[in-house]
Amino acid sequence: MGRLIKQWFPVLIATVTGLVVLAGYLIPSPPLIFYRDRLVEWAVIVAAFAFILGLFNILRVHGGRAIRLRQGWPYSLVLLLAALVAWVPSVLYGPSGTLTQQMLDYVISPLGASLAALLVFTLALAAFRLLRARRSVEVVLFILIVAVVLLGNAPFIGLERLADVRDWIINVPGMAGVRGLLLGVALGTVITALRILVAIDRPHSEF
């Protein structure tokens, strides 16, 4: 009985749910559409509970580190305090309260934007490291194309021609490469999803 519940029950639920949702999108039948929408709504509710799990995980990992004074414990402490400070206005005034919105607009968004700005430096550093570590025609071509695309975006006088070259690189070889990549990703997604749907792959079960 235990084996049935642990092994076959999750597989049965996943397969039936997957088939009903898939059929709901492909067959225009009102009962199927009704069940599909209910199942998708349940998935959203489960995902919301997963966020509570995530919060407990953060408390466990960083709380444990701060209490045991492990490497980086001051950062963990700051994280927990910041999480608490961010949590209070949302609980007291709701997600659309003035204080909550101000915290989002003046603290969280600018912090996110500054962290995203770091990407320019990490990417440039990676390109330099690449030139040092792997010297090949392929790498030189990569760096050359990156330089042309970046300079093609810059408003320098005398480099207007580069904007045309940049457009051509992005729209012709770049687009062709991305489409090929996305086609492969789509096929990989379909096949992996089918594997789970027909229970060949069972990441959710005790097999």
Partner: protein, 256 residues
């Protein structure tokens, strides 16, 4: 119809049905063929080829392995890509747990957290070391991509980490994680699907699986026929699709 996906036309439904059914038929036929012992040889991928050797090296160094699973969850369009990333954890978990070097796994979506914990727990069970299992080895970092990348970079920068593995849903922000690894000269292995992540990872590591190669993780790391069959089915469908695209292009050219 299709309140969540928008209206779907009859042609699209036909194409999706054809793809789904032909995929199912192909996988079933290949699974039957596998029972007769006819297994194909697959092209080696540097990202997965060294995965288990890397686990051995981590064990020798006494460090640990950081596996970043990215910002994908189980309730969105990235669900399958996240599951493909999880196959890398499945492939590594048994080896690293048996060597006594449990990995540190970081996730950026809480829906992936219980599944990643479960994969690790099962590896401990298989090795008979259930009492050593620590769910805190799987950490939820943050739901936003950049915040996740910064948090995962912090994990990769820890002294104990001696190998950085990246597999799952990432964007260009993945370069923050690889930068942390590169500063410590860590061996880095990556498997991603999104084109912007590929561009950011290419300069960071030469052990990179790109696009559809991510979905081949199971076949490469376990060699099990169920994964190999789906990989062959994927290849067959791709060849058919390429022929269809070429045929349509030629017909359009002839027809003016």
């Amino acid at each position: 119809m299709g309140s969540l996906l928008g209206p779907i036309s009859g042609v699209h439904i036909g194409a999706i049905l054809l793809l789904t059914l032909s995929g199912m038929v192909l996988i079933s036929l290949l699974l039957l063929r596998g029972r007769r012992g006819l297994h194909p040889a697959i092209r080696p991928l540097p990202a997965f080829q060294d995965l288990r050797d890397e686990a051995g090296r981590v064990a020798e160094s006494g460090g640990t392995i950081h596996i970043a699973l990215g910002n994908g969850g189980l309730n969105g369009g990235d669900a399958v890509t996240s599951l493909a990333g999880l196959q890398v954890v499945e492939a590594l978990a048994d080896t690293v747990v048996s060597y006594g070097v449990p990995p540190v796994i970081t996730v950026g979506d809480p829906t992936l957290l219980p599944l990643a914990q479960d994969v690790l727990r099962r590896a401990y069970e298989r090795c008979g070391l259930t009492e050593w299992y620590d769910p805190g080895r799987v950490c939820f970092i943050a739901p936003s991509p950049v915040a996740y990348a910064v948090g995962a970079a912090n994990v990769a920068a820890a002294d104990a980490v001696t190998t950085n593995v990246i597999a799952g849903v990432f964007g260009a922000e993945v370069s923050l994680i690889t930068d942390a690894g590169a500063r410590r000269d860590l061996p880095q292995l990556a498997a991603v699907a999104a084109p912007c992540a590929v561009g950011a990872l290419y300069p960071a590591t030469d052990r990179l699986a790109v696009g559809e190669e991510l979905y081949a993780a199971g076949a490469h790391t376990t060699g099990e026929w169920r994964y190999l069959a789906s990989l062959v089915a994927q290849d067959v469908l791709r060849v058919i699709l390429v022929l269809l695209i070429l045929g349509t292009a030629v017909l359009a050219l002839i027809g003016g």
